[in-house]
Amino acid sequence: MEERTLTEYLDSHIEPEPDTSAPQPWYNQFGDCIDYQTQRVAVVADRIDHHLTIYRSAEDNAAIGFQLKDVKALMQKYKSQFGIVFSTHNERLISVTSLLLTAFDAPSPATMKRRAGYDEALRSVSSKGEVSLA
């Protein structure tokens, strides 16, 4: 099977095709992480702790999203304490808010930056419900 390079792909897909609907959290199966970004601007990753990274606008440093890592490992480790998995007929949904709270509960030094980071993430995603693991 012929292999294609990313350069060839980008040469044939010069422009992105943005979705104009409201931003939604996405489960990135390739990195086992949840990714969420509310504005179409470059971001600088502000690492809060092992699990959470806040995305800050490269223009004004405002928090405009986050990445939450090790989703499956968090679910496996804490599933006995937290009911964070919801299954439907054809997909598994997880509550992003519950997962953020689970990550916050993981052992990590308590700092004001960590508390503020989780607060920013929770507020940004509060109305977005679940994300599919499909």
Binding site: P16, G31, D35, R40, A45, H50, K77
Partner: protein
Amino acid sequence: MEPWFTHATIDPLEPCSGNTTKVKFHRGFLEYLSKHKPVDFFNLRTALGVLDAPNRIFYGLRDLNDGGWCYVGQPKEWWLRERVIVPFPADKVFAIYLRDDLVVYNIRAEYADPIDTLSPLNWGERYEKVIWKKEL
């Protein structure tokens, strides 16, 4: 339709040998960037530049899921918004995260470490080891 797209870079298993290997981008990842992070879609070209000339390569990124690679560089320019190219800030680095099997799952700018400005902030705590440094 073939779902994988590749790019050649320094082989992290033999970083000093001069050998290259191919890292992989899945079509699903590229389509997600196109739909939901269009600025990052443009910055895929920034990522290719970093893979062509990284300043640092790190191994071992996580506590719960061991392994993984991080290629880090400082491009001259990047996309701040769609079709808006600006100089890349001197106090940042551009990082590309890969799984053990060389599948890219994240590209992003990060704050540079104040002591080693070619590495991400707190690199000593975040990565298991530095496996390659560019000779300046």
